[in-house]
Point group: C2
Amino acid sequence: MPELPEVRHLALQMDGELRGRTVAGIDVVQPKCLNVPLSEFERLTVGRTATKVTSRGKWVFMTLDPGSTFLLNLGMGGEALVHAKGEPLPDNRQVAFRFGDGSALSFHFWWFGYVHVVPSAELSSHAMTSQLGLDPLNDVEFAWPAFDRLLDARKRTAIKAILMDQKNIAGIGNVYIQDILFAARLHPMRKAGDVVSEERHALYDVIRSQLKHALELGGLAYEKDLYNQPGGFKDFLVGYREGKPCPVCGTAVQKIKTGSTASFICPMCQT
Amino acid sequence: MPELPEVRHLALQMDGELRGRTVAGIDVVQPKCLNVPLSEFERLTVGRTATKVTSRGKWVFMTLDPGSTFLLNLGMGGEALVHAKGEPLPDNRQVAFRFGDGSALSFHFWWFGYVHVVPSAELSSHAMTSQLGLDPLNDVEFAWPAFDRLLDARKRTAIKAILMDQKNIAGIGNVYIQDILFAARLHPMRKAGDVVSEERHALYDVIRSQLKHALELGGLAYEKDLYNQPGGFKDFLVGYREGKPCPVCGTAVQKIKTGSTASFICPMCQT
DNA sequence: GGCATCAACACAGA
DNA sequence: CTCTGTGTTGATGC
């Protein structure tokens, strides 16, 4: 459940499903994913009522009135599931909320995830979320001039590193970046300063259209949503298609190391 | 006048020459090499008497009693010269001290240098000198176990970078490092973790012997001391001898880029 | 596939 | 042949 489309889809589902439910208890199997001691976590959640769920980048924000905000990051491939009253919780959960009506919300991470709560008044000092960058699906804040300036300010940084830095744009990870760069015909290591205006416009458009499209499909087909249903996005152009033909020119897709992450590129189309 | 042998030689000469002289006035042509405004610099120097001159790394420390310490770094190829009463000062000086007895001490830098003064009580907060590493000519502090641990602590750093980092060992620059690495048969980019014990011992011995030898000769032949006399060290093995034969195997010495500095190596002997 | 931290490296500036 | 900051990259661990 990693990147913006999955996270936003989940937040939208949670917003529709959980509004009005009151936290009756917390079920913590792995305390180290909490940002505060369990007792403090309980104090800030139990007895409070979910009134709104939103997302920014890879983070889900759930308002727990009065006065708390719950913050969730599912890391690499984690899941959040809602459970009707009486349903057993998954054995592999790290944390779960039990609501007053008998329903529950469980979280499972296969590697690392963050289950945080902060007093809403202190939300701005929550380090992992307070510095998140622009929302690429918000046309007001992710405006073209801001994007253009961002690339100017980091002229000698690889374009992939810029787009994946959550402080710049929030929500692009190592999955969606692959086809975004392919569609913009950019090599991941191209320096931002060498990306000319026409390419920048193409890239800007592709970022918005790809993420919007994936969101409309409910995210990736190999991820599960709040109701354990897979998303509909599965047709990668080059991402994770090592050795398969480029859909444009037929050249075999290469998997290369780009810094510490892997990239899938068409060596002919992306320069 | 750059590295440890020249700086220590200069400090020894200054110690013998200047003890007891009182600063009568300061002559500042280039105020930007000072660490404080000229008025403050004068306040901390004029009327005070040199009582001791020492060195650590590439820095000269002159105690100006009561209460001040003068700190000098000649940068790349700067000079410090003493002048008898009545002698004119060099036109190219950036700064000079005039002493009460009519003598003077002038400083010239061909690129950048530092002419600092601090209250002796605040010496430990002078950033550029407070973190200087071990004195390689002091057998007590530059002991074998400390050197061995240093290389363990920086396993994946190039050996040249470690030796030239003034925070580790103080006084080795891009001149003496050349023959030190050649004599130890080490390629400059070799990772410290790959330098085995026998090589480490050889390197440790070479650092001490080379610097000691150069100090005994009064430093480099192309540098001038306090009395404008050149040093006696000129017989580089590979340093600055690009294309000349390696003294051991006859292979042509190569000049290569190692990070941001140049290195002269025998490609056969140094691995 | 996440994020933070630290070390290493490159570059510009003085 | 100086040293310092800044920004970027890479490895590590949770």
